[in-house]
């Protein structure tokens, strides 16, 4: 969807302070872009800049090719002229108004006689039929979030901005709201920017993720690609890739599609990556999903691929899974892997046990040092 022909949202922002920003991101119409980063990375600031409630020092924000903000051309539309639907983290509903009035208040562009019916239809669409006359204090967290979504859509916005919309509700409500948003977005034709610090949430709901760190956008890609192919060790750390190591490119074999590297004190085969010359120091990462445990009872697939021996330094059952830290023989570096608990038990994994794992070639990803 990223390649959609309809011009969506383009954001270029830069400023040194008060909150440093160096932002470059695009979101196509109909696309959900998750803006992901740790607390304080500037996610909400970027969203507020798009809505126009704060103004960056310089840059350009355009929707459908029309500039909402262009410091070079001296353009900066007031928020009320930007047509952005905004769902705030704590919803920011108007406490003195009913759910219905909260939605109607955003319908200044709709003929007065049509507002009631349209607000009812919107509340119906977010499953709040029958609760129209309730005030926010009389609604649950999940219901308040739905009112906030309905209010944001009431403007017929050209961009929908969601600022951590699931952070203020409990887990079970969150699961329901995820589902509702996933259904709702099928019918939304505008760019949708979802701010979150929850990687799972981003991976579940977004078409693409954009990583923000200290006000700087680092990389944007589909969630799976981002986890598998982070552009730098910093991105790898931010998307919670736990196994990042130093290494060195030894040789390339383009015909075989492999690049041979030195890592964890041994030679490892990685996918061919011609960006790095032989002899270059690199960082490399492997997601836990690409670390295969060698079974004791019978050989499994990939056993010949990059076998690595080690001793279990830490074994921690966490619900249905076991978090395992393997101290690799030789250099003493640590591989962090999660196995299903029953697999771990069947293979006799425990602290101090010796293990052999394979690092699947396809999962080894090289990054600049």
């Amino acid at each position: 969807m990223a390649e959609s022909a309809v011009p969506g949202l383009e954001v270029r922002l830069s400023q040194a302070g008060p909150i440093a920003l160096q932002v470059e991101m695009d979101c196509a119409s109909g696309e959900v872009l998750a803006l992901v980063g740790p607390s304080g990375s500037g996610k909400s600031t970027v969203l507020r800049c798009i809505a126009g409630v704060i103004r960056a020092r310089s840059g350009r924000i355009a929707v459908g090719g029309q500039a909402w903000f262009d410091s070079g051309a001296g353009v900066s539309l007031a928020p009320r002229h930007r047509s952005a639907g905004f769902v705030f983290q704590n919803y920011a509903l108007f406490p003195h108004m009913s759910a219905q009035a909260n939605v109607e208040v955003a319908m200044g562009h709709v003929a007065r006689g049509d507002r009631t019916a349209r607000a009812r239809a919107l509340l119906d669409r977010v499953n709040l039929k029958g609760l129209e006359s309730r005030r926010p204090a009389e609604l649950s967290g999940g219901q308040q979030q739905r009112v906030a979504v309905a209010r944001a859509l009431a403007r017929d916005p050209r961009v929908l901005l969601l600022d951590e919309p699931f952070s203020a509700v409990d887990r079970s409500t969150r699961q329901i709201l995820y589902r509702e948003l996933a259904i709702l977005r099928r019918d939304l034709a505008m760019p949708v920017v979802l701010v979150t610090h929850d990687l799972d949430e981003a991976a579940m709901l977004a078409d693409r993720m954009c990583i923000l760190h200290r006000g700087r956008t680092l990389q944007a890609a589909a969630p799976h690609d981002l986890m598998l192919r982070p552009a730098s060790s910093l991105v790898a750390r931010l998307v919670d890739v736990k196994n990042v190591f130093r290494g060195k490119v030894l040789a390339h074999d383009e015909a075989a599609g492999t690049t041979l590297i030195e890592g964890l004190g041994q030679r490892l085969e990685a996918l061919f990556d011609g960006r790095f010359a032989e002899g270059t120091e690199v960082q490399w990462a492997i997601p836990g999903s690409h670390v295969i445990l060698h079974r004791r009872d019978r050989p499994s697939r990939g056993e010949r691929e990059n076998p690595v021996r080690g001793v279990i330094a830490d074994f921690l059952p966490l619900g249905e899974n076991a978090s395992v830290v393997i101290r690799v023989d030789g250099p003493g570096e640590h591989l962090r892997v999660t196995f299903p608990l029953h697999v771990a038990r069947r293979n006799g994994l425990e602290a101090g046990a010796e293990v052999v794992v394979s690092l699947l070639r396809d999962g080894i990803h090289l990054m600049p040092d």
Partner: protein
Amino acid sequence: MDWAALILSIELAAWTMAVLLPVGIALGRLLAWRRFAWKPLVEGLLALPLVLPPTVLGFYLLVSLGAASPVGQWYQSAFGRPLVFSFEGLLVASVVFNLPFAIQPMQRAFESIPRDVRDAAACCGLAPWQALVRIELPLAWPGILSGMVMTFAHTLGEFGVVLMVGGSIPGETRTIAIAIYDSVQSFDNAAAGAMSAVLLGLSLVAMALVYATSARRTRGRG
């Protein structure tokens, strides 16, 4: 019982409220939401009437509004009579010494409106005046009401500043507080007692109203 003094006091309180309502909303809103370099100084200046002895405040007002002052001279030339020892002079003084009583509750009320709620109003397409009328004032009204009631009660009860700036001219500057003092001075304890009881009753009703609105506000948030 000096009914003229009571009516004058109520008129003065009403006019003071009329002036301080828009001023309090504008200044309270500004102080609640804007940050600027001299803000602590401005807030301190506005709070001075709370701590200064009324005679000190009255003295400065007398000097700055008197016939020798630029304000006093301008008033004299424009209206043909002095500003001090007149109802208008008393009103100016009353507005000044009531500034903190009007502004502070309003400022607190505007401060209690979350930033996100104000931003949401803008994001809903409301123009600033629409946001003021439809969102901000309805949310801040308990504080605005408190400010107005405090102003009313405080104007009725003020003595020192009124005496310094207005003197005790019957029908012009003699408020009920001054009338009580004059009655006691002339050993008319019955009149002083009656007027004190009226003032006590009015003040009690006003304060009860302030607490009732603040309790309502607290419940509304919970």
